[in-house]
Symmetry: D2
């Protein structure tokens, strides 16, 4: 093993087919639907996923046992970026958030029985799912330890009570993976447990779908109430009180897969800007020859290339099974901000067109903004990055 940036033959082949599939099948569907998955009908999802399966690019991340292609994170980095070129691409490949992260979590933690019941149909695209962790203030937000939803023992299982919000994809999901506190009090660093809660459970209700800046997620972002929500013992995912640890199992890679998909969106915005700059003139010269436009275009190339290099690094560390928190924090922070800059510049290059619905840029502008907040806001990641760096400096000194 050594330093290298060669993409494996098999991965390159899947990526090529994904790119072709996105161009020929997904982009036309996006155009037809206004890219509006939020309001999109279930049949569109079914049809696109059928086509992805036919193109041999369905569920690239899921294990082969579950009908997927079994790619590791480095492989996913290449393929998901290709999929992310369209807002509908990840949905078509069944690798969109939050399902993709939930599949990963279930593969890692669930019992065989739970896998058959929840993972198999999810990986096959027959169901959707959600991950119910975030709570309205003062509950679990950028600080997950503030978790205040509780699960208390009943005779034959648990009763969950609390409120959740910004639960992506909840509307239409077959089940939720729900974090609740089984010991300790809000602020404690432990004591959380994950539960598999069926959508049909009468104790869990969607109280509203939140109107948000982004519109790209199937099912949107919902607010849930868990009110005397009773579940059996076999609804516990993994061990009780280990929920925060499992959340890390899910969040480390999930942050990276977010980056991959958004990098594809950034690439698309930049391609639109490049084509515009190549075609359009102002002040008697092609835009592409105006220095300030060149600077916008160059800065976006720099952002995309550096972001991709850093993302691959973090993915490789995770693939090696090494502690990768510092690398994933850096990649998430950098890529989320880089992607925002790229889209913002593309809007600027395209001018009035950029802010109209005639190009997908204004839509992308809305979609990428929340990514600097979701999965840990930039400030929380920077705080963690600095803390780890200071700790490492102290250890280096102690070792001298």
């Amino acid at each position: 093993m050594s330093i290298g940036f060669e993409i494996d033959e098999r991965v390159a082949d899947i990526a090529r087919r994904t790119t072709e599939f996105v161009r020929n099948t997904v982009l036309p569907a996006e155009e037809a639907s206004g890219g509006n998955v939020h309001a999109g009908p279930e049949p569109l999802r079914r049809r696109l996923q059928e086509a992805a399966r036919a193109a041999g690019v369905f569920a690239p991340h899921a294990g082969r046992a579950w009908g997927g292609l079994g790619l590791d994170l480095c492989g996913q980095a290449v393929v998901f970026e290709a999929a992310g070129y369209s807002l509908l691409g990840p949905l078509a490949l069944n690798c969109a958030a939050p399902d993709e992260g939930n599949m990963h979590l279930l593969e890692a933690v669930a019992t065989e029985k739970q896998k058959e019941r929840y993972l198999r149909p999810l990986a096959a695209g027959e169901t959707r799912s959600c991950f119910a962790m975030t709570e309205p203030a003062p509950g679990a937000g950028s600080d997950p330890r503030a978790l205040s939803t509780t699960a208390t023992r009943t005779g034959r299982g648990w009763r969950i009570d609390g409120r959740k919000w910004f639960i992506s994809g909840a509307d239409g999901a077959a089940f939720a993976i729900c974090m609740a506190r089984t010991s300790g009090t809000p602020g404690d660093p432990g004591g959380a447990t994950m539960f598999l809660v069926d959508a049909a459970n009468p104790g869990m209700k969607i109280t509203r779908n939140i109107d948000t800046l982004d519109q790209g997620l199937f099912g949107g972002h919902s607010e849930l109430v868990l009110d005397g929500c009773e579940v059996d013992d076999d609804a516990v995912l993994g061990e009780p009180d280990q929920g925060f640890a499992y959340a890390q199992v899910r969040l480390g890679p999930a942050r990276m897969t977010h980056c991959m998909r958004w990098l594809g969106a950034a690439r698309r915005a930049q391609d639109i800007a490049l084509e515009r700059a190549a075609d359009r003139s102002a002040f008697g010269r092609p835009l592409a020859e105006l220095g300030m436009v060149q600077q916008l275009l160059a800065d976006s190339e720099i952002d995309i290339e550096t972001g991709r290099a850093m993302l691959w690094r973090a993915c490789w560390e995770l693939d090696q099974g090494r502690p990768a928190a510092q690398h994933t924090s850096i990649a998430k922070t950098y890529v989320s901000e880089a992607v925002n800059r790229v889209v913002d510049r593309a809007v600027q290059v395209c001018g009035a067109l950029g802010i109209s619905g005639d190009a997908p840029l204004s839509r992308l502008y809305r979609e990428v903004r929340p990514f600097r907040i979701y999965d840990g806001p930039s400030e929380t990641h920077r705080w963690a990055i600095a803390k780890r760096a200071v700790r490492a400096a102290r250890e280096r000194r102690a070792a001298r």
Copy 2:
């Protein structure tokens, strides 16, 4: 006269009443309507303008002869910022774009007869108007000289042919001030003429309302077709072939009034962020005591204060009747970018709330972005700023 930042007693009084009016009357109306002027019914506009008149804050910019308060630009800077605190505030005071700029233009250039016919009802809030200059590529965009709509002599007047887009407020406007080329060819620095075209003119048609990132303008942004649009000689505004010069008469102050209103929006976003930081805790401490949040808040205070100081400077130069192109370009570029930064930071401070529709931030985030493109994109202004600075340096040297 000397350097000073004291607000005149009368202006301060109008501003105080505006602030109170916005808080008590406009913000509740904004909340009730979702701030969505675009879809807002005409009655809302009428009702708010009645209330503004009752509060003594109606049409602060318009001459007293036309029912306004006759403030100069320095006075407008103070009052419009107070009005801009709500997205509906400028509409309520009848000082929203594009009507406000059109009133200014008509006062400066129109004949008495034209004033009675177009300005009087406009200043009174009985009608709305639009300014039809921008064209789809390769026509007049960031480079107005690319104007390609033509007006040709007929027996009894002119026939206008061409396409316009991004014409703000066109839907529902009683008339358009329409730029057309009466001599020369696209790219020539002269040869434009302004025409007053009634909405009822069968030769002018709205072909669609453009879906844009921003939603704040009454009437939205429309695409127009002028197809054999015949007008009489007295439809000419000012002198023929002087259209580009009049456009500067309109655009210089219009850029500044945009800045004033958006500065009010920035102030509001910052106030929301400050209240959130004061109320909410994370990681066991109030947000307002976390250093990275303090940095976001401080940077926004800096942006608002420096932007306001620069804006007042440019307004004062215009009020003195001095050549102020450099000052207005700098103020427009700086304020438009500062306002975007302020709103972006407020979104970040508020986290999930910031991107939801539960606070007006996600709405403001969409509204302020186009301002870096409208009225000359930042790049065009920077180009002009640099050119003037280099020319001044050459002149200084020649004088030595």
Copy 3:
């Protein structure tokens, strides 16, 4: 009074003469000496100050009773910027740090006897002075309350013990204004007293002159030791235990005068860049027509103009005797950073020339950097700005 940016006739006249004086007398002296005041001989200072007196521009800030021109801060803002165009300009006008701030402090706080003894020769340029507040860690630094130098009562006065560093201008100064703790312990918000200590006092010694990035200050930055330094009771400046309050009297305006001088330096860097861009070609076109160069030039114009507008605002607030801490913090933070950006861009525009000693840019690059640390680092000011903004938000809410 109202909003205005007109420069008073008298101030404009002094500024014009200062500009002329700097161009004809100071810049040639700067060139001859390599701008190196640090190593500069005392005769140069004497000669330049004589010439400034002859030109009628000497000591613009000092009261007329002390031989100065008695300008308020708004007037100083205009004249000091003109002086700051050369690194030697402020020295020539006897308005360089730290003497200028010390004169202000002495005028405000000293007894008549102290004024005659210390202020009169200082204002006349016969002596120089220093302000001994900063201490090496863990003493008084960005947090002045950490003051650990002590002054203890003796029979006939006080004995001062402690270490000071980064004491600008100490080498060659006739006296120091020295902050020492007369009550409380390091960290307490009160308990400091200011003492006038003659350079001849055997208890105060310069232990070394610190090698620093900047080289512009006459006398450089020194480290002092106060070891059993005995002074009489009449060495106390103002009231005992009021030192921190007096420090604010000095620092508020001193921050602003720093900004004024550095703004002049920024203007000079930008002028060099503009001339270079006007003269030099690359890739077959004048630099001044290359878009990325235009962007650098425009951004610097924006920085200078916005910085000046903000600075004038803060000066005006101080001149009115209003609480101006928020305005001065904002002006200091913004101008110090803007000045650094301007000089950095000028270096970039000038390329190899910019980093050579053939233009003064590499020298300016070194001189302006510490300004983001001196007089409160940007982080300390941002912390204070945010705190005040949050407090104001809380008060606004309480008032509703």
Copy 4:
């Protein structure tokens, strides 16, 4: 081959020994000499290089035939960063600019005879060299095609006439690789030839050593005059008229090795800042717990990690022999700017200490600035990056 970030065993071993060697031998020598290579005596260079040889880390980049370790660029990336941790490290390992780039060029292009005469002693550290391409305006600068030094045929060779400046390391070099125009006129994209000119040649004279912001290069930056400088035919390096192509052979990797060394300097600045933040308190809390300090520290970690990932990517492309101009332009632009940001932040974290000579930060601050200009200013690279991106977009479209 696949994506990977594992460092080869042998490279890791050399890097480990380099780190140890720098810490135990080079840093003490740097401290003793004030890091001032510029004025440093030749014996210091000899002694450090002896020690490096003894430590088994001498000339990591040079071929084994020339006494080096024969590392490819990916290997150099790891080892040079370790060497760059001290300003004297690259000199000690004989991998400093410009010698390192000249060795690479000679290995690639020189005849066997030329290699024996010039490369062997250079690789062994017995001689030093320089690369004489840059000329004062309007000659070859950021645009090499402006080359105006001429070489004209004589009976037995060539006569070179022209002026060069910013020729790094010229003072004390045994020979220069000198670019001169053998056909065409300034501005032509071809017609340059490289010549090996001995320092003893009476036609080549150093006219002055330029005083520059950076002080780190042995021999500094000199101005040369070539006045009737006669050389034989075997002084031609490679083929006549191929000089611009060879310059690319040299510059592509040379840009990357610059990045490697400066990344080491950035790492050092950040380590100083981290230790300071861990040790020092302000406002009653350790610096390392203040949010704004954490942000500075985190941003620098992000800059270093993303810069390194991008650098490795570009090195790998070069090692594969693929066209890597886009990757190297992006890496050079990004790393040079990132390194400047990192050092600037470290200065800020360390406050007064950061700008004093008591820590190496003020020195590093001066050293890294020119790197955004040397080897192609950021603007030139951005221009090239944008052009390539637009061209690629056009090709992609043509292929559809």
